[in-house]
Every structure is written in structure tokens, then in C-alpha cells.
């Protein structure tokens, strides 16, 4: 039972973390987020299904193109749904990105169809037995990929020139522009990266679930909760919060039954935010006057 809670919790948790990391990346650079993240999870899975299964392309090519499609969608979101509003000093990007997600969901429903389909994966056909619990190899791959990506992003932000550019834009966009940094392109890149992370999450979870137009909706909502819980400005915090969320969710389902899952999990989130209003590892925003 404990193994099953751990595997299931860490697996789903790292996926929440991965999608939430997407919220973190754009927020850190531009102070905005793409509320269509959940729909991009769907997009990644649906594109891979369409190219790899329907058209019969090699899976590797399908995966690369699916992720490219997600990145492209991220660029479109930034260009059409965020930049025009931010330029006018409006917060309407909030609604615009939510609307973008709904448009994408319905486009998927219209093109992919209403019926859930199965995305086969060699990593999710034969379970292996570990400590008395059968698990698919994919369930072990998911947290590894999730944590590796989180670590990579953290390293990029902290240790590389690109990271310094991103942080410079985040701290003071005008000053960064004066230093010769292309702020627009930097923010656009952040959106593309953010959408790619969501796409990866979609590709990884689809073989465990089924591919459908609704695959990512709940993920997007949970991931946003995770981003806020972790402190949206902290990559480490976001990933930790994701794992924590996944573990609590799996633990509650296994011990109390799934009737209580959302009830307990979201109560825990409210409690956690009451105790730490800026998230687990977040810092209060400092308004310099």
C-alpha cells in the first residue's frame, strides 16, 4: 500500500510540479502566467496521438513535433493574448489566456473527437513488481524526468548567461532593455518554454490515462494551486509543492477513500497558505519606492 502511494503520489506530483514550473517560468520573467497551461497538456498528448498513432509516424518524430507545436502555441499565447494587454497596462491577459485555453480545448474536441483514445507506450504495457506492488516503468520515469527538468531549469536560471538575462528582465524590464536585452523575445521564449513543459507532462501522463480533450483541464487547475502553494517565484518550491500535493492526494485516496481527496487536499492548501501566505518557499514581493 505504501509503495503504491509513493509511486502514484510522486508520479502525479512531479507532473503537477512540471506544469506548475511552466507557471513559474513566465511569472518569474514577466509577472504573467498562461492560464491555458492545462490545455497545453492536452495539446501535447493529442498531437502525439494524431501524428504517432493516426498518421503512423515514428513516435520519436511525433514527440518532437508535438512539443514544437506546444512551444508554438506558447508563442501565440504570448503574442496575441498577453503582450497586447500588458502593453496597455491591463490585467485582461488573465481572462484572455483562460479564453485561449477554452478555445484550444474545443478545437481539440472538434478535431480529435469526443471519444477518449489510448496512447500506447512500451513503458506502460507490462508492469514490473517492486516491493510487492506492480508498477509500469513509465511511472518511475515520470518523477525522474520531472525532477531532472526542474533541476535543469533551476540551474539555467541561476548559473547561465541566459538565466541572468531572464532574471534581469524579471527584476527591471526597462533597465534590461537599456542594457541591450531583447525583452520581448525573452518573454516570448519563456512562454514557449512554459508550454513545452506542459506538453512534456501531457506526453508522459497520456499512456497512463487516456487521450481526451479533457485530459489537461484538471491538471491545469491543480498545477496552478501547486504553483501558488510552492511560492510561484521559486522553482524548487514549486516542484516540492507538486510532490507534496501528489503524495497527500494519493495518501488520502488510499486511506480515507477518494470521496475525501479533494476535500482534504484543498483544505490542506488553504491551511498552508494561511500559515505561509507567500507559499512554501516564496518570498513576499518587495515594493521598492
Amino acid at each position: 500500500m505504501l509503495t503504491s502511494i509513493l509511486v502514484s503520489g510522486l508520479g502525479l506530483g512531479s507532473m503537477y510540479g512540471l506544469v506548475a514550473l511552466g507557471f513559474h517560468v513566465t511569472y518569474a520573467v514577466s509577472g504573467t502566467v498562461n492560464f491555458a497551461q492545462g490545455s497545453v497538456v492536452t495539446l501535447g498528448a493529442v498531437l502525439a496521438y494524431g501524428l504517432g498513432v493516426t498518421l503512423g509516424w515514428p513516435m520519436s518524430a511525433a514527440i518532437v513535433l508535438a512539443l514544437a507545436g506546444c512551444a508554438l502555441f506558447g508563442l501565440v499565447v504570448e503574442r496575441a493574448l498577453v503582450r497586447p494587454f500588458v502593453a496597455r497596462g491591463s490585467d485582461a491577459w488573465l481572462l484572455a489566456t483562460v479564453a485561449g485555453g477554452i478555445v484550444l480545448d474545443n478545437t481539440v474536441l472538434f478535431t480529435f473527437g469526443k471519444e477518449p483514445r489510448s496512447l500506447p507506450s512500451p513503458l506502460a504495457t507490462k508492469p514490473v513488481e517492486i516491493l510487492g506492488t506492480g508498477i509500469y516503468p513509465l511511472q518511475l520515469v515520470i518523477p525522474v524526468v520531472g525532477l531532472a527538468l526542474a533541476f535543469a531549469i533551476r540551474t539555467v536560471f541561476r548559473r547561465t548567461d541566459l538565466g541572468r538575462v531572464l532574471l534581469a528582465v524579471a527584476q527591471n524590464a526597462d533597465a534590461a532593455r537599456l542594457m541591450g536585452i531583447d525583452v520581448r523575445r525573452t518573454v516570448a521564449c519563456a512562454y514557449a518554454l512554459s508550454a513545452t513543459l506542459a506538453g512534456i507532462a501531457g506526453l508522459l501522463i497520456a499512456p497512463l490515462f487516456s487521450v481526451s480533450a479533457e485530459l489537461g483541464t484538471l491538471f491545469g487547475i491543480k498545477a496552478f494551486a501547486v504553483a501558488i502553494l510552492g511560492g510561484i517565484g521559486s522553482a524548487t518550491g514549486v516542484i516540492l509543492a507538486g510532490l507534496l500535493y501528489g503524495l497527500v492526494e494519493a495518501g488520502v485516496t488510499a486511506t480515507l477513500g477518494s470521496t475525501y481527496t479533494q476535500l482534504v487536499v484543498f483544505s490542506v492548501i488553504i491551511l498552508a497558505l494561511t500559515l505561509r501566505p507567500d507559499g512554501l518557499l516564496g518570498r513576499a514581493a518587495v515594493n521598492k519606492v
Binding site: M1, S4, I5, S8, L109, G113, K114, E115, P116, R117, S118, T125, P127, E129, T133, G134, I135, Y136, L208, F209, S210, S212, A213, E214, L218, A250, T253, A254, G257, S258, T259, T261
Partner: protein
């Protein structure tokens, strides 16, 4: 006040209203008789909604080719409830109040039907269920009951599931894995009573949410409790997840299921182990040699070019139940000689013999019996190469 009007004015008024009356009845004569459909046309159960729509569509065509009902053509007005009770209620109200449907045909989801039935009873508009099996849909306790059904009934299905598990697998201590909604509850009650009647203990009762993906925790509890057979109740998506979770646990327990797996591509979603699930149906096209079944299948292929093989009519119950339900509804309207709700309701009781797709109905409805199908119409099936086939095949 009318009596004080001058005679000439009164004549004008009377003539005008008579003319208006004529105009109205003329308009009605040209009008169609509208029947509403509220079912899931999107989401996980979309394929079931499509099956219901096709069954009704085919029946409507046949009825209209023979002159319609009361000399007017039938027209289907469909609404998507997205498997959501509140959306279903909104759609039903809109169909009854704005569109003016004669009757509402329901969909796949018991929670949605349970929400619509009180409105149908209150507004005195017949409701016909072609799929949702919740016992309380037709046995709703209303003094004036407008809910009919041409489908399975949970209470009777549960008795059949228990009998099948005992006969086929020699079950002595079955466990239940049920979806956590009104449908699951309806079956929890039914299965408990059926087990009691069969003098068998339940190893345990576990629930899952419709969007759960990992049922290992719940199933592990049933395994530890010593369950030797599982009763499964849930729609196609989560039912597939139950099978996958059983695979991961390498637990080869027999699974006897309500008909959720029939609602979609269960064999694709659940993988090779889909075949181990035996589930109940009211009808299958596969292996059915009756002339009516052949004729209906041919007509379906002609009307819906998307239907190419048996796999494309997999939720055959949806098609067959809806097809028979529509014909029975038309007979009820004809017997009522009116489209008024209370008269149509009584029209259902006047139906005599009707040779349908599932069986030949003989006085299928009485004031005390609003369900046209019973245990003798149930058949156990499983998936084989994308088709639903009788277990004996």
C-alpha cells in the same frame, strides 16, 4: 364586460378569434411533433450519446416514412448535457418550455436522469430513458409518474450480476468497486440486497471518482478482504482504469460488470485484459440473426456512412434501446390521439403488441410497471476484437 359590447363589435370579436383559432390549428397541422433528447454528446461518454441519437434518428425516419404520428412528422431536437445534471436540467427545461417537445428522451447518466425526472413529473411531460439504469428513475415514488424506460434496471441487473457470479465463478465472497455517484449508489443498494437474498457476504464495498486513474489502493483493500469476484460499476473510462490497476497488481480475479464498458472503446483503453470483464447488455448485434436486427443494421449503415463494421455499433444497447423507445413513444402518441403530456402518458399504457428490435413487446407498460425490459432480456457479453459478443460465443 363582453355582454355590454354592441352586437356588431361582438360579432367582429368572435369572427376574429375563430379565424385566429383556424390559423393556429393550421399552423399546428404543418408543424412537426418534436421529441427532445438530453444526453452526453461530448466528453468520455460521447459515443453512447451518438448511439442513442442514431437509434432515435433511424426510428424517426421509419415513422415519418409511414406518415409520422397523428399525421405530423416527428422531429428530434437534441441537447448535450455533458454528463452534468445541472446542464441536463437546463436543457430539459428549455426543450419543454421553449421548444415545446412532446416527450424527453434521456441519456446515459443516471445522475442526469434523476435530476430531470422530477421536472418531467412536475410539468407532466413524459420522460423515456433508453440507457441510464438507476432504479429510482422509473421507481421514483411520484404520485403522478411520467418516467418510462426501455433499458436495464439496476435492481434487476444487480440480481442478474450476483446470479451470474455464483453460477459462472462459484463466487462466495464478492467485492464491489463502484463509481461514487448516484448510479454507484443505486447499485450499491441493489447489490447488497441481491447478495443478502443469495445469502452471500460482501468482501467489501469500494468507491472511486469518475476521474480517478489509479484504483490500486481501493482494489488492494478488496484483495486483502479476500474478495473472490468483483462487481464493477462505472462508465467506460474508469472501468478501463480498474482493469489496468488489476493488471498492475497481477490480480486475476473474475470481474462481473454492469454495462459501463459498452459505452466506448473499452478494449482499446483497457488493453488485452478487457476480455476478462463480463458485462451485461440488453442487446447485441453480433451473433444476432433475427431478420429485424439484420434489417436495422443495414438501415443504420445506409443512414450513417460512418458505420462500417460491427465495431462502429459497439454501444448496441444505446442504439437498440433508443430505437425501440422511439417506436414505443410514437405508438403512445398515436394511442393518445394527442400530444398533451397526460394523454401521451396514458397512451403508453394502451400500447398493445409491438415487434421491436430487442423483443416483441406485449403491453410493455402498466401504471405499476414503467420498465419495458426485465431480466429475461439481459445477456452477458465481453469484448472480442473490438466487438461486443455474447460470452457463449
Amino acid at each position: 364586460m363582453a355582454s355590454r359590447l354592441p352586437l356588431a363589435l361582438r360579432r367582429i370579436a368572435m369572427t376574429t378569434s375563430a379565424l385566429l383559432g383556424l390559423a393556429v390549428s393550421a399552423a399546428q397541422a404543418a408543424d412537426t411533433v418534436k421529441i427532445g433528447l438530453v444526453t452526453a454528446l461530448s466528453g468520455q461518454s460521447a459515443k453512447s450519446g451518438e448511439a442513442i441519437s442514431r437509434g432515435i434518428g433511424l426510428a424517426v425516419d421509419e415513422i415519418n416514412a409511414k406518415g409520422g404520428v397523428l399525421g405530423r412528422p416527428l422531429e428530434l431536437v437534441a441537447r448535450d448535457d455533458e454528463a452534468n445534471p445541472s446542464k441536463g436540467v437546463l436543457a430539459a427545461r428549455e426543450l419543454i418550455q421553449r421548444v415545446g417537445v412532446v416527450a424527453v428522451v434521456g441519456g446515459l447518466d443516471t445522475p442526469v436522469s434523476m435530476a430531470i425526472v422530477p421536472i418531467a413529473n412536475q410539468m407532466k411531460v413524459p420522460f423515456i430513458g433508453p440507457w441510464a439504469a438507476g432504479t429510482g428513475i422509473t421507481r421514483n415514488g411520484a404520485a403522478d409518474n411520467y418516467a418510462f424506460r426501455v433499458s436495464a434496471v439496476d435492481a434487476l441487473v444487480d440480481e442478474a450480476l450476483v446470479a451470474y457470479a455464483v453460477k459462472t465463478y462459484g463466487a462466495k465472497k464478492p467485492g464491489m468497486i463502484l463509481v461514487n455517484n448516484a448510479w454507484g449508489e443505486s447499485n450499491q443498494k441493489g447489490l447488497k440486497e441481491a447478495l443478502q437474498a443469495a445469502n452471500l457476504p460482501a468482501a467489501g464495498i469500494e468507491k472511486y471518482e469518475a476521474n480517478d486513474v489509479d484504483m490500486v489502493p481501493q482494489l488492494s483493500r478488496l484483495k486483502e478482504a479476500g474478495a473472490d469476484t468483483l462487481f464493477l460499476v462505472g462508465n467506460v473510462g474508469p472501468s478501463a482504469q480498474v482493469v489496468k490497476s488489476l493488471d498492475r497488481m497481477s490480480w486475476s480475479v473474475p470481474v462481473v460488470s454492469h454495462w459501463g464498458p459498452a459505452g466506448g472503446r473499452f478494449d482499446e483503453l483497457a488493453g488485452p485484459s478487457a476480455a476478462r470483464v463480463h458485462f451485461i447488455q440488453t442487446f447485441t448485434f453480433a451473433g444476432n440473426t433475427s431478420p429485424k436486427a439484420t434489417a436495422v443494421l443495414d438501415a443504420l449503415k445506409a443512414k450513417y456512412p460512418a458505420i462500417k463494421s460491427m465495431a462502429d455499433v459497439t454501444p448496441a444497447v444505446g442504439i437498440a434501446n433508443a430505437y425501440d423507445a422511439t417506436h414505443l413513444l410514437a405508438l403512445a402518441i398515436q394511442a393518445a390521439g394527442s400530444t398533451e403530456g397526460p394523454k401521451v402518458r396514458d397512451g403508453f399504457y394502451k400500447i398493445g403488441t409491438y415487434p421491436g428490435l430487442i423483443k416483441t413487446y406485449d403491453k410493455p407498460f402498466t401504471p405499476g410497471q414503467h420498465d419495458a425490459l426485465g431480466p429475461s432480456d439481459y445477456v452477458f457479453t465481453r469484448f472480442k476484437d473490438g466487438e461486443i459478443v455474447a460470452v457463449s460465443n
